[in-house]
Amino acid sequence: MFAALAMCLNPVESEATAARGQRRPWSLVARLAVFYTLGTTALLLVTMVVLYGVVVRYNDANDNLFLNDKLRAVRADLAVKKANQGELLAEEVASETSDYFVRVLDRRTGKVLAESLEMGKRLSPSVFPAPSPDGHIPEQGTEYKTPAGKWFLLMSALAEIDRMMPRPVVLQIGQDRSDDKAFADFFRNLLLTVLVGGAGCSAAVAVLVARRALRPLEQMVAAMKRVQASYLQQRLDRDRWPKELDSMAAAFDEMLARLKESFERLSAFSADLAHELRTPIQNLRGEAEVALTRTRTAEEYREVIELSIEEYQGLASMIDNLLFVARAENAETPLNRLTFKIGPEIDTILDFYDAAAREQNIALTRQGDADLYADATLVRRALSNLVSNALQHTSAGGQVRLAVKQANGSVEIQAQDSGCGIGPEHLPRIFNRFYRADAARSSNSGGVGLGLAIVKSIMDLHGGSVTAESKPGEGTMITLRFIRQEPVPQNDQHSRDSKPPA
């Protein structure tokens, strides 16, 4: 069921799954045409059934009424005639052209006293229904099909001849309904023909209309095909499309904009990376080449090797950090979330930097505490980068303060230094990879401009945010904001168990 649902929602993927033997969803044109045709056909059908019913019923009622009237009239006639009168049914029997037949039976003997012309050949007395014993004239006749294939409506009733000397008889009356039947059949066939024709026409119209209505989709596909990695400025533009497709065009354009930005960032990143690799490689190469230009003492060689080890370490840590940021961007880094007190974690980091801070005569302090549901290792890494960064940019006698604040639904960790500050032109970009506010500082500070990028990655992984405020000359405050989330106990247990030794 989910596969079917997914197919409906994701037609692109469904093409791939169709190849694997799954059913492909209907085309939009087919869907529209089928539903439209079904709708119109149902409407036609209902109309015609009602029409047919009304006409046929009206005919039936008419015939019944006619027979009923006729019976009544004949009975009244008979009542004033004499029992032995020869032309008992003079009027009825005489008329050859009449499409109805009348017969008078003796009630006791069952003998035919009189009947219309030709009646004996068509309708024998036995096919008629028995008359109602209370003398009632029926409202509804009985249908009968003769062996010759003709339809008759039959009625019978009790009657008396000669009111003075009553002789009980049975009156039988039958009407030829073949014409009515033929009309009903013709009418039904006509209606069926109209129905089939109507359904066919509406299907054809539906296909045409649906195709026409979906034409903008094809145009949109054509426009999308023009988009290429090297030509990302192609846009679908709003307003060119019907209302329903407008938001899709807008979403597609936004996606293109994001892709373009990513591509640009990627190429800028490659350029930065190449640049950052040049310096350490140049150092290594230069030192090695100079060392080899003449014979040197063991001590000198040793120094070259020691220097190069430092460069190698720098390169290795750059690779580590880059990989970390890259994986965090793709959300490949698994989070081992736990609920823990942030205070002691900050204290551990401050303790780590304590000796270095004392040498620089910088005061390191922490205020506040809170419960945090996060990956402790990653949070420590972020804190370590913040403190390291703050120490690098703060001069002797300054201070670096970390404060933990709980606001509604979130926990904030602020790192405030009294350092040189960051100019407003640099502020929005300090979280970018390889970005340094002061290019000349890089060699002293040891980092390559990845520290804050890592902090941002860690906050992104946690669904939090990082912001920076700074006043040049007064210091910088960087705020980490964690949105409070409910811990999931089982998950924690699991990730804890599978945590490899570092």
């Binding site: 090797i305 990989l323 551990t348 780590f352 370590s384 030794p501 570092a502």
Partner: protein, 223 residues
């Protein structure tokens, strides 16, 4: 002690062999998986150093083969792949340790020694190096009979060096053992703490015991 290195990259194999030999190990090298598993099954090695990415048969397959054949020699994996899943897989398959390239040789040596030592030595309560005495249970360190007034962290740091006395302990390892920080801190922050420790342990005395090995780390020994 005899070690086997299975590594297709000749330069890597060469420097590992050189480094291990100079540290008193006898080392055999296999350059591909089949040769490696033959040697491993035949010889009595104390430890196998195994590269994950090998031609034809990868390190994991070799490890599986060895374990099925009943060869329970400890295995140290070397790899350039450091995804968490890879680490977990390696350890689940019965590797004893896992080292991601690029690594410091000192780190490699320390891991080798740790695996070989594992389970054989109980933690000593009192560590002695020359005239330095460290009582790990009472958290007290004395040198030449004088009490060294160390902070808690300085004491842990000194113990960390003392437990591997005579071996170079890398900065990474120090940061990990003393502060439980297992990520790259980027700067040589340990140096400042180490200077404070040396001011108490070495400066008042004639012979220094803590030595800086440039670019690598520190060693505690009497020279």
């Amino acid at each position: 002690m005899r070690l086997l290195i299975i590594e297709d990259e000749k330069k890597t194999a060469a420097h590992l062999k050189k480094g291990l030999s100079e540290n008193g190990f006898t080392v055999d090298v296999a350059y591909d998986g089949s040769e490696g598993s033959q040697l491993a099954c035949a010889g009595a090695y104390a430890l196998i150093v195994l590269d994950v990415m090998l031609p034809r048969q990868d390190g994991w397959a070799i490890l599986g083969e060895l374990r099925r054949a009943g060869v329970m020699t400890p295995v140290l994996f070397l790899t350039a792949r450091d995804r968490v899943e890879d680490r977990v897989k390696g350890l689940e398959m019965g590797a004893d340790d896992y080292l991601v390239k690029p690594y410091a040789f000192s780190e490699f040596l320390a891991r080798v020694r740790t695996i070989l030592r594992r389970g054989s030595t109980a933690q000593q309560e009192v560590l002695r190096i020359a005239d330095l005495e460290i009582d790990t249970r009472r958290h007290k360190a004395t040198r030449a009979g004088c009490n060294l007034h160390l902070t808690r962290r300085e004491f842990v740091l000194l113990s960390c060096l003392a437990r591997s006395a005579g071996e170079v302990v890398s900065r990474t390892r120090i940061v990990e053992e003393v502060w439980d920080i297992n990520f790259d801190t980027g700067t040589n922050i340990v140096e400042a703490t180490m200077r404070r420790l040396r001011a108490k342990v070495d400066d008042p005395f004639e012979k220094p015991l803590i030595h800086n090995v440039r670019g690598i780390g520190y060693v505690l020994e009497s020279r």
